[in-house]
Symmetry: C2
């Protein structure tokens, strides 16, 4: 230990930053501004010596005159001008993957904020890092400014995680929060989010839940010691959530949140991303707007909640910097919490075996016998109902329903198997007493 600290004190740690977008430029700025404070904290100087970005001329509010400039991130990753490579290019393949692999293969530590890269290649990159006895930090890849990776990797002792869940996409949480507070439609909220820069021009990746799934896959690996499996996740987005759903949920004491949830079940790890009805009094329900939050339940700690900004230049750059400082200090932790050879293959639990309460919204045709048919389908599937709600103000209008005479009916089930709910809904749709697509939202009693 002594030897490390001493040798560290003598030589500065030279950082190369690939990608000078918002996060990259903020990182360079912070390191330049706080150099003295960092040296004081660490007993070792940290300097950005080289960068790589597409345009040299763009004004990023930072002084790059003293920095070596690379056009090729792989060349930067391999350059002998740096001791640590920071990847902020983005993208799950291409230059980001090539550059990170190249740096790790040379035994050079890497810090990245790239969740897609981690979700897709995290285990392979971890193996390269371990073989080369170097470090791979990715605190900023999940829930930007919240130290959830450090907590999972270093803070849990031997506690066994039973369940992890969280709000990990600010775009979706912003949209759902505004739908709740202002009573406007999904489409209008999305348009506003795009205007404010909270949603991409093509929002598919966010609103369909894939971004959350990537982050959940990374957390699952750290929580359960399994391989990262971003494609083995049940994913449902928020595009079908209507004002009727928000209003009924509110009346019943719930909020609707897009959650990523992973939990141990009898037959494996259940990983799922979907709109979820959560009790208003739960701590996760209080996380609104672009905020993120991750909750952990372990055998030692009933619930640990970490809430904060999930994105943005300063929070994300700050997380990247905390990884850099750990590496500068010589902290040595397996990137995925356990050595990668100890990771178990991911066994997906079947979503059909999921057990919980369900909210079901149906467009029921206004004909005799409709209600009786629905009730009998639910009964036949073995589902017991907690409540049935039909109110004139809940009428949902869908393009497909134009001209049909329907009433909106909401059913809340007691805890039941997803298979039973799907069977019942198939039967109900087959009977022809409903129109359009039934809405089904899972309920969690946090």
């Amino acid at each position: 230990m002594q030897e490390q600290a001493d040798s560290g004190a003598e030589t500065p740690l030279r950082i190369g930053v690939a990608g000078l977008g918002n996060v990259g430029a903020t990182l360079v700025q912070i390191i330049q501004r706080d150099g003295e404070e960092l040296t004081r904290k660490l007993g070792r100087q940290i300097v950005v010596t080289a960068v790589c970005a597409r345009s040299r001329s763009r004004d990023r509010g930072i002084d790059t005159s003293e920095l070596a400039w690379f056009d090729d991130p792989v060349a930067l990753a391999k350059s002998d001008k740096i001791d640590l490579f920071v990847e902020l290019i983005g993208g799950e393949d291409g230059p980001a993957l090539a550059a990170v692999s190249a740096a790790l293969e040379l035994g050079r530590p890497v810090v990245t904020a790239n969740k897609a890269l981690l979700a897709r290649h995290g285990v392979a990159l971890t193996r390269i890092a371990e073989n080369a006895d170097t470090q791979l930090g990715f605190e900023a890849a999940v829930a930007g400014g919240i130290p959830v990776i450090k907590t999972l990797r270093e803070g849990l002792g031997s506690a066994r995680v039973a369940r992890v869940y969280g709000i990990m996409n600010g775009t979706c949480n912003y949209i759902l929060s505004r739908m709740g507070t202002e009573g406007i439609s999904f489409a209008d909220c999305l348009a506003d989010a795009q205007k404010l820069g909270y949603a991409e021009a093509d929002p598919t990746f966010d609103v369909q839940g894939f971004d959350t799934a990537h982050k959940l896959a990374i957390l699952s690996s750290l929580c359960f010691g399994c391989e990262i499996a971003p494609d083995e996740i049940f994913v449902e987005g928020i595009t079908t959530i209507s004002q009727a759903d928000i209003k009924v949920a509110d009346d019943l004491g719930y909020k609707i949140k897009l959650l990523g949830i992973a939990q141990r079940n009898a037959d494996g790890i259940e990983q799922r991303v979907h709109p979820t009805m959560v009790p208003k009094a739960s701590s996760i329900a209080g996380v609104d707007g672009v905020m993120n939050a991750v909750a952990l339940e372990t055998d030692h700690v009933a619930q640990l909640l970490l809430a904060g900004p999930g994105a943005g230049g300063p929070p994300t750059a700050s997380s990247v910097l905390s990884d850099i400082l750990d590496i500068a200090r010589g902290t040595h932790v397996p990137p995925l919490g356990v050595p990668s050879e100890e990771l178990t293959p991911y066994r997906q639990a079947s979503m059909r075996a999921h057990e919980g309460g369900y909210y079901i919204r149906l467009n029921v045709r206004d004909v005799p016998g409709a209600f009786a048919s629905i009730a009998s389908c639910m009964g036949a599937a073995g589902i017991s109902l907690e409540s049935v709600i039909q109110r004139p103000d809940l009428r949902v209008t869908e393009p497909g329903l134009a001209g049909t005479d329907t009433r909106t009916v909401v059913l809340l089930t007691h805890s039941t198997l997803e298979q039973q709910v799907r069977d019942a809904l198939a039967q109900i749709e087959g009977d022809g007493f409903t129109a359009g697509t039934p809405q089904m939202i899972r309920i969690e009693q946090f």
Copy 2:
């Protein structure tokens, strides 16, 4: 780095545990039970080899037959049977201090959950640890199961903390939560908390705010790089909080919480512990019962909230274990975040210069001119009022008020200086139009 990891892989890390109460016994149990998993995680075995406690015969649900038994914690701390000393004796002086000092002086790493010891002697112990080039871990000393020390020490990069605040005493939070939900008095809640084991037989240290002050002093040091100054804190407990206060706060959209708050001000660091009215919609307001929470505001992160169990065997033992694992991995971080020689002396900001909103509850005599006199005192002190509330159902009965004919009046001020409020209250009391003691609760708009 390589060398360290290799040498670590060969020899087990031998732990000595002094103090086998709930936390100590749970820690021994966890390490015995999870030995294999820990070895898998670390590549190094961790074993408890020796313990020290008063009674050898007491059944603690753990197997101590293979452990060396010490009657004197200092002898255990110095014993060559251990590589790391865990102090769970408690108390700010006496055997805990002697044993921790002895271990550190020998260059032996120490992990402790003892907040009183840290608050009183943390800087001195840190100096001993640094001089001997060894480690001092105390994650469990503040907010038991919440990784707040690790986050402050390692997770913030170079972010400057502007404010830290939190609910750090489960006893007080339990009492205030129950007063809110069940409408019963402080005394009755305290009695229940004692029955349930949430409060000590002598609850003074908790309900008067001193326990929170100890923890706040430790957090302040980590947040602001200043020395630990547990006596330089403005402290007010919760014993005067009445149902009237809880009810009016509720009507106005607030909850009352005992908070520890430290923030940078123009003339130093303001550290204070007092009952605080916080907006119901704030995340800290949602932390109820025995739960703890710490919120951080930095120049990079608007708010980071960490919420979880503040006490209890498994959460606290789990935090102790995470410190042990960091030490086993060779993690090397200054105990107080920066080297102790860099700590600045603590400069207490005057509480009289505190600026904020105030809730003031008065028992006003039912005589002509009383109200006008109060209003004119407030005006003369330069205080502008946000609201004045007088309702028959808010009548507070205090022993001292028996026989007097008073009405309860509540005033809410706009942001003002504490000095002005104190001046006005002194004037009001002097005028003889009120009876009993005025209640004053600070308001924070989180």
